[in-house]
């Protein structure tokens, strides 16, 4: 059995912490308040960063799904599961912060804006990934099903977006209009938070992969101990 790779967590944690601190500084002290929306515009930096992390997660999950189907190596399944899990957390945060932004700016908690709709359906699709995961016992079968689910879910996203766009085509594309005439300090703040959340994402992902891989190894060894008559001991 291979030893697990050396733990890169301390360095990564440090980097993430520094980046997050820098991002917070840039967002709250460096970047100016937006004229129309006021202070609440500052939600946007971390909101978009969460969205980026979610997007990274689901792309990773899809790629891991393809890799598993090709190689039939369970490590890709573990990567996929970790990515979807983290993606789900960040999508939840995106939805929550989006609502908290929408209430003061659009005067509504929820609108069926394409982005919102897409995020919500994305959340549903990948939440069902975990329902599927818990419903399949056999290890390789579970990995195959989940890989297919991740790929199919990922393919579904652009269609969801397209249909949501057609659905409510009147809605202005708020975020894009903003980012074009953003003050340079705002761009700095945005880039800082994007970098910080990417680091956070990497940190979380490798942490989850390690945990899930460990869980897998423990489970295998327990199976093996229970099975091998020559090695079995009485269980209390």
């Amino acid at each position: 059995m291979k030893p697990l790779p050396r733990n890169p967590e301390p360095i990564l944690t440090l980097c993430t912490a520094l980046l997050l601190a820098a991002a917070l500084y840039a967002v709250f002290l460096h970047a100016p308040a937006e004229r129309v929306m006021g202070l609440v515009q500052k939600i946007f930096y971390f909101h978009l960063s969460c969205a980026l992390a979610a997007f990274l997660s689901f792309t990773t999950a899809c790629a891991a799904g393809v890799a598993y189907l090709v190689s039939r190596n369970l490590k890709w399944d573990i990567l996929g599961a970790a990515a979807v899990e983290i993606g789900l957390v960040f999508t939840t945060l995106v939805l929550a912060t989006g609502m908290l932004w929408g209430r003061p700016v659009w005067n509504a908690w929820w609108t069926w804006d394409p982005r919102l709709t897409t995020s919500l359906i994305l959340w549903f699709i990948f939440a069902s990934y975990f329902i599927l995961r818990s419903a399949v016992e056999q290890r390789q079968r579970r990995a195959t099903y989940c890989a297919v689910m991740a790929i199919v879910g990922f393919v579904d996203v652009p269609i969801v977006f397209l249909s949501a766009r057609l659905w409510r085509s009147i809605h202005p594309v708020v975020i894009k209009a903003d980012s074009i005439n953003m003050a340079p300090a705002m761009v700095t703040a945005l880039l800082a938070s994007l970098a910080a959340f990417t680091a956070l994402w990497v940190l979380l992902l490798q942490r989850r992969v390690r945990t899930l891989a460990l869980a897998e190894r423990i489970l295998t060894m327990e199976h093996r101990l229970d099975r091998e008559p020559a090695l079995s001991t009485e269980r209390k």
Partner: protein, 50 residues
């Protein structure tokens, strides 16, 4: 001024969310460490026997 509350809540939600997630995963990690310990004990017991 009212909108500042939303800003604060949003950042609170983000930190609380990430923190809660870390907490949950940390708990899982600890449980795994316990299982690993039991496992190692079992293995050393079996190896002690001929």
């Amino acid at each position: 001024m009212h909108s500042t509350y939303f800003l604060l809540t949003a950042y609170l939600v983000i930190w609380a969310g990430i923190f809660a997630y870390l907490l949950a995963t940390g708990r899982q990690q600890r449980r795994l460490a316990q299982r690993l310990e039991i496992l190692e004990q079992r293995i050393s017991e079996t190896e002690a026997r001929p």
